[in-house]
């Protein structure tokens, strides 16, 4: 018996079985050949092929196709059949092609199995390789189909059509169906209950089941033998260059690279440049990647501002083609990290574009390489939070109750190897200490645990794009993503295994920030020549970087990075490159070693053999390629070194690493290294390769960081306006506004007569943009600008009524504008927002009444309403804007601060190292939970007040005790000690409490004896 028609979890939300588990189980049951047919996709092709390879099983590639109520199993016999299957699947995703309408030539190279009599009849007429699929059991329906097959003179065969491996998975499968159908378990339709026949049985059980129709078993074996295709083998498929003409790509690339080099380095070219260029061009040509470089150059050329990232920035050719912006010679970047003759996998060039320009770039690539390109997909799997949420919904729990658990699960990872189940792990999580997990939660968690890592949906890779010489559907099925772009049915690993070379076109907010800030600067009449712009050489900028005042600056704005900058006290380019790579999880010891050596501690290299390689990083491995370079120094080939680096950076590296470890120690012994020295080097390689960046990447980013820092140093208002407008920075708008205020900028509240959509900075003023007002639609924002700038003339809004009548905002939008203070300029000062809200309601009412009137009712002056209380006004403003324009909200707690005797952020340095416990009232800005070496959670938080920011550390014991108070967004009263390390201050928190409420709360009871007088007063 050969089981055909098996399904894996890639039949999304229809099976909980992974390809690996399927192959393992099949092998245990004694199968030697199995056929996977997921529904309308080949998502799991490479997992299946790898699984079969691992368990020595012969794979049969195929898919179950469902379209317009028709269903059939398509098994691939040959490469032609594979191409046809890819095209058919693409067609089904594109226009739901009915199976009966597929032309004969599209069905060649395939075995077609169906239980649909009309389909079988039609395909029999075309004389295709077909069979009647007897699914499940030999029942009445199967008998009729078998008779029909006899009539048509076609074989009938068994299709196992399984979705689960064991009976225990049935419940998981039902939950998946309930998630897909948006229903509860008890209301799952009968056909979705998956009661019988969906489990993979042993060969003996199938033979027993079908012993009354023995020819079915024979026919199934015969069909399986005809399927000789076991997976596509394309080799490396680099993107083709379209504009070659009569020239070859190698020649064209050499010419372009030389021309670019002359522009970069002048003519004649320095020998060093020429030598490296020749070396690179020779390797590129020998590996067949010349066209790849030309394609990327053409993509990048029309765009004004890009940033090459990843290992591609190590290529001088890429630099000369203006794909990247950092000179690999000047910064000593290692080309072999990117490309070397022994590299068998495809290298990728990653390019960053301004986030709002990237879609245009993608559109241009799609139009240039129509039908030959698509984006790489990304399989979204169920993570604990989603698995718990979806299962709890199936169990009918209300959203609020589910959120009490799931909102505290940010960053939670389920550890399979600890032996604890999900429930136990959640119970051990400090953040969930107050959750009771009363029934039915234990059952929900047990079920949710089964869902973790099951694919849920296919999304788009952040930027990976594949361009192929033949139509892309010859290689892989393509479908449309929700955002409208075509995507291939494999993720980046699948594409890499297939040999499809990926180009990463990514969006980068900071490129947009720099672009917008420069536009604003130019608007003031200042011209900056970007070709001669050397921000890394500017003293003021270096000073800013050195002091860690880089909030808002690309890549160096996180608290950890700014603290490192402060501790290092270096503001030059080279050190910034080191810092941006050395910052990583669990690297605290190495960072301290680095800082000590940086500040003058004497050090010795781990071994003289690797002294040169690590000299610029103080004897510490910092970059990814350090692994390859050290390995090469010990006798590995560049390809082997690169392979070692790649394995080390993978999560499931243990199996493959053992072999490399033996070879490494053998090579070290040959080079006369002691066991201890070799072990030391090996451990350092292990700790760094997993998280570190390659130097070209860090250098490329450091350049953008310096550009941002230069703008912040010289044009703070324009820069901060661009940072906030482009959004997506490390901090919230609230934090950036506070930073701007600390920089001495004045925040001008939104104003319908002055504000643009984006924020604008000029001089020492920052004008809040209309985009900051929550709830104001894009249409209304545009209409405000349109009405204000009619035909080039600025026609300001004269009054509230004028604004309402010209812009016609929706009720909630107008309220948001009033609460934000954007309409304050249209009424008499001081603006009474209660009256403005009344006038709005009056206008809304008159507008609805005006439908049946000849003339709109005239505006009646509003009654004398009491203005909003200051706290209520600020609360509304904060709700709409997310910050306050005129003050820091912590100032509203002045009474408490005085009463509690708290210290301001700017005064904390006076207590550095005193061990005195200091109270500090702070507003939370960011938080990051990390694990200690022993796996205990602790948290780094940034708090601020109006005078500055404070970096706080909550060690495990304090974190365990107080973590439930964090992440509420409210200010907190912190008690702790001020520490100083390499000149940087931090606050070690020992106690946290909510801010006590001032005064006593009284139940509202009137003075009844005075009630008459009170009425008179109000009247």
């Amino acid at each position: 018996m050969i089981p055909l028609g098996l399904h894996s979890h890639y039949s999304l939300l229809r099976s909980p079985t992974s390809c690996d588990a399927l192959c393992r189980q099949a092998r245990q049951l004694g199968y030697r050949t199995i056929g996977l047919t997921d529904i309308n996709n080949l998502y799991g092709l490479w997992d299946f092929v790898n699984g079969c390879d691992r368990y020595a099983i012969r794979p049969i590639i195929g898919a179950e196709l469902r379209s317009n109520g028709e269903r059939a199993f398509f098994l691939v016999k040959s490469s032609q059949g594979y191409t046809n299957l890819c095209r058919i699947i693409t067609g089904i995703h594109q226009d739901n092609t009915p199976l009966h309408s597929l032309p004969e030539k599209r069905l060649q190279g395939l075995v077609l199995l169906s239980d649909h009599k009309k389909l079988l009849t039609r395909w029999q007429e075309m004389e295709l390789d077909i069979g009647a699929a007897i699914i499940g059991r030999p029942d009445q329906q199967g008998s009729e189909l078998r008779n029909h097959a006899r009539l048509l003179n076609i074989p009938a065969m068994i299709v196992a059509d399984t979705y689960i491996l064991t009976r225990n998975e049935k419940r998981t499968l039902q939950i998946l169906r309930a998630i897909a159908g948006n229903c509860s378990l008890s209301r799952l339709p009968a056909d979705q209950q998956m009661n019988t026949g969906k489990q993979l049985l042993s060969p003996g059980e199938y033979e027993q089941r079908y012993r009354i129709w023995p020819e079915l078993l024979r026919n199934t074996r015969a069909i399986a033998e005809r399927c000789e295709f076991h997976g596509p083998k394309f080799g490396l498929v680099p993107p083709p260059y379209k504009n070659l003409g009569n020239q070859d790509a190698d020649h064209l690339l050499r010419r372009a690279a030389l021309a670019g080099a002359r522009q970069r380095y002048g003519s004649p070219l320095p020998k060093k440049v020429m030598k490296r260029l020749n070396h690179e061009l020779q390797i590129i040509a020998s590996m067949g990647f010349s066209s790849y470089f030309l394609v990327v150059r053409d993509i990048v050329r029309p765009v004004s501002r890009t940033c090459g990232r990843g290992s591609g920035a190590a290529s001088l050719v890429a630099y000369c083609l203006a794909i990247t912006n950092v000179c690999p010679i000047r910064h000593n970047l290692y080309f072999e990290r990117f490309l070397n003759p022994g590299r068998t996998d495809a290298p990728d060039i990653d390019i960053d574009f301004a986030w709002d320009e990237r879609d245009q770039v993608l559109a241009s690539v799609f139009s240039t390489y129509k039908n030959h390109c698509a984006m790489v997909s990304n399989m979204v799997t169920m993570q604990p939070r989603k698995a718990i949420r979806e299962t709890a919904r199936v169990f009918g729990l209300p959203a609020a109750e589910i959120n009490t658990i799931t909102r505290r699960l940010s960053g939670f990872r389920f550890q399979r190897d600890t032996g604890d189940d999900l429930h136990a792990q959640l119970r051990a999580t400090a953040r969930l200490r107050n959750c009771s997990f009363a029934p039915p939660w234990p059952e929900i968690l047990a079920r949710a645990q089964e869902l973790i890592d099951i694919p849920a949906t296919l999304s788009v890779h952040p930027g990976g794009i594949i361009i192929t010489p033949r139509p892309i559907t010859d290689y892989v099925p393509v479908q449309q993503a929700a955002k409208g772009v075509p995507i291939i049915q494999w993720d980046k690993d699948g594409a890499e295994q297939a040999g499809l070379v990926k180009i990463d076109l990514l969006g980068n907010r900071s490129l947009g920030v720099i672009r917008d800030a420069l536009i604003q600067v130019r608007a003031t009449g200042v011209h900056i020549d970007e070709h001669s712009w050397r921000p890394e050489e500017d003293a003021k900028t270096r000073q800013l970087v050195k002091k860690g005042l880089t909030m808002g600056c690309f890549y160096i704005e996180s608290p950890a990075m700014r603290i490192l900058q402060k501790k290092a006290g270096r503001g030059d380019f080279e050190h910034l490159v080191i810092h941006s790579s050395i910052i990583r999880p669990a690297a605290n010891d190495c960072i301290r070693t680095y800082l000590r050596r940086l500040h003058g501690e004497k050090w010795q290299p781990l071994h003289p053999l690797i002294a040169d390689i690590l000299s610029e990083t103080y004897g510490i491995m910092v970059y990814q390629e350090d692994v390859s370079r050290v390995a090469v120094q010990l006798g590995f080939s560049p390809a082997q070194g690169d392979r070692l680096r790649k394995i080390m950076s993978k999560k499931d590296k243990d199996g493959q690493l053992a072999d490399f470890r033996d070879r490494f120690f053998q090579a070290a012994a040959e080079k006369k290294l002691s066991q201890k020295e070799a072990e030391g080097i090996w451990q350092m390689m292990l700790s760094f390769a997993g998280y570190s960046f390659c130097k070209p990447h860090s250098a490329s980013y450091a350049r953008v960081s310096f550009q941002a820092a230069w703008l912040k140093a010289h044009y703070p208002a324009e820069f901060m306006a661009a940072v906030i407008s482009n959004q997506g920075g490390f901090y919230s708008t609230f934090a950036y506004v506070s930073e701007a205020r600390r920089m001495g900028l004045r925040i001008l509240p939104p104003d319908v007569n002055r504000s643009e959509i984006a924020w604008r900075g000029h001089g020492r003023e920052l004008q809040v943009g209309l985009m900051a007002i929550a709830g104001l639609s894009e249409t209304t924002r545009n209409r405000i600008l349109q009405e204000r700038n009619m035909e080039g003339d600025v026609k300001k809004f004269a009054s509230l009524l004028d604004f309402l009548q010209r812009v016609h905002p929706a009720d909630d939008e107008a309220r948001a504008l009033i609460h934000a203070g954007a309409l304050d300029g249209l009424v008499e000062k001081p603006a009474n927002r209660s009256q403005m809200l009344y006038q709005l309601a009056q206008w809304q009412q008159s507008r609805s009444l005006a439908i049946n009137r000849l003339f709109p009712p005239s505006a009646v002056p509003p009654p004398a309403l009491p203005g909003q209380h200051q706290v209520e006004r600020l609360r509304n403003e904060y709700r709409v804007l997310g910050f306050l324009c005129h003050t820091h909200p912590i100032c509203l707690f002045d009474q408490q601060r005085q009463r509690l005797g708290t210290i301001l952020a700017r005064d904390l340095d006076k207590f550095a190292g005193s061990r005195e416990k200091i109270p500090f009232l702070g507003w939370p800005i960011t938080a990051k939970i990390v694990g200690t070496k022993t796996g205990q959670p602790m948290e780094f938080l940034t708090f601020e007040d109006e005078t500055g920011q404070v970096e706080c550390t909550l060690f495990p014991r304090t974190y365990q005790r107080h973590c439930h108070l964090l992440h509420t967004g409210a200010p907190l009263l912190l008690t702790g000690t001020v520490e100083q390390d390499f000149g940087a201050l931090s606050f070690t928190v020992t106690h946290i409490a909510p801010v006590p409420v001032t005064g006593k709360r009284h139940k509202e009871k009137p003075d009844y004896h005075q009630s008459s007088e009170t009425r008179d007063t109000i009247a």
Binding site: G396, P398, E401, S834, P1006, S1012, I1018
Partner: protein, 388 residues
């Protein structure tokens, strides 16, 4: 307009008060009334538990965490019903117009014109309070006002104990300094709109004209205007005049979204409705099902028959139809309500042909027999079983 005198009696935390009557050891400790189930919600709580943060509808686990010293008892609606009936019997001698208001333990008495019979209204208030306290051990808040609205607000401001008297003509002065939230007729959206324009006290809102109030609160501003000025013409309605309406509710001990449980509860409610209708020789055309979900949202739908029905089978059919019309979400259901509308006297149409509708005849007989058993031994002695 004739001067009216309305007394509002409010037995605070009614179910707690009833439980404490039956077990005096409960008097000195906080009490929470909630079903004994893992996902039960609070049905009622004592003042001490309220002060600790326990609220109606809150999850029992959360409530227990807030008030660890509280004792938890399961709700006994039938006992509370008996207790309120006892209260009504005690106050009926004072006035034939006694209205049982929405919520437990609230009664309105129209004492208009009873001065010569029972003395001045404050005396009546004291007498009623003493009667209830001496006879039943219940200590109600009482308040007197010229209408139901004022009497109710009076009770609200003295809660949890005391009394309050507002004389005719003092309504506006009485209401003016009070916060808007004390006004029972104010809808949540009206409250937030009035707050948005800076109004927080009843007197401030009452200073607006009808037209101005309609600008802020939209439709129904007239009713609100009257309320803000202490005007409430609604009469106290004795049960006999409140229209024929049958409403039955089932609180699930533990919220559920399992179809068999919800179905069974609806069928049980239909059975109760059928029994109640048949006892009064009535029939109904319209069955309304109201579902209250665990997240507080509710939905109601109806099923209408061409002719009035009174047999369990027909009522069940309508109830199940209405149920599946309104049960569209997968969130668990907390309670199910069934309401019979379009009530008519039963009509027995004789058939010309004996053989027709044998099933109906059998069902009638079955219902009659079951009703007899229920009458003799109580409803809890015989339940119908249902199969899927």
């Amino acid at each position: 307009m004739r001067e009216r005198t309305i007394i509002h009696l409010n037995i605070v935390d009614f179910s707690v008060a009833v439980e404490r009557l039956q077990d005096s050891s409960l008097r000195n400790r906080p009490l929470i009334i909630a079903p004994q189930a893992a996902r039960a919600t609070v049905y009622d709580m004592s003042e001490e538990a309220y002060q600790d943060g326990v609220r109606k509808g809150m999850g029992l686990i959360d409530a227990r965490r807030r008030c660890r010293r509280a004792r938890v008892l399961p709700p006994r609606p039938e006992q509370y019903e008996k207790a309120i009936q006892c209260c009504i019997r005690r106050v009926l001698p004072f006035s034939p117009l006694v209205e049982r208001a929405h919520g437990q333990g609230h009664l309105y008495l129209d004492m208009t014109g009873s001065h010569r019979l029972f003395g001045p209204p404050p005396d009546i208030g004291w007498r009623i309070r003493n009667t209830l306290r001496n006879d039943l051990g219940l200590d109600p808040i009482w308040s007197i006002g010229p209408n139901k609205l004022i009497a109710k607000v009076g009770s609200r401001i003295v809660k949890p104990c005391g009394e309050y008297i507002v004389a005719q003509g003092e309504e506006r002065a009485f209401l003016a300094p009070l916060p808007l939230s004390l006004l029972p007729t104010l809808k949540p959206h009206q409250y937030s709109r009035l707050r948005a324009v800076g109004l927080s006290r009843i007197g401030q809102a009452a200073a607006l004209s009808r037209q101005e109030l309609s600008v802020v609160c939209g439709r129904r501003a007239d009713i609100l205007y009257n309320s803000l000025h202490g005007i409430d013409p609604t009469p106290v309605q004795a049960p006999a005049h409140s229209g024929r309406r049958f409403f039955f509710q089932h609180y699930l001990a533990q919220d559920s979204n399992r179809e068999e449980i919800i179905r069974s509860a609806v069928l049980s409610l239909a059975g109760q409705a059928g029994y109640a209708l048949r006892r009064q020789k009535l029939a109904c055309r319209k069955i309304i099902i109201k579902l209250l979900y665990s997240d507080g949202m509710s939905c109601e739908r109806q099923a209408v028959k061409k002719l009035p029905v009174f047999l369990d089978h027909d009522l069940e059919q309508s109830a199940i139809t209405a149920l599946f019309r309104c049960w569209r979400r997968r969130v668990r259901i907390r309670s199910i309500g069934l309401c019979c509308r379009d009530i008519f006297p039963q009509i027995h149409q004789l058939s010309l042909f004996k053989s027709i509708n044998q099933n109906n005849r059998k069902r009638k007989e079955l219902n009659r027999t079951i009703d007899k058993i229920h009458e003799l031994f109580g409803r809890e002695k015989l339940y119908r079983g249902y199969t899927q």
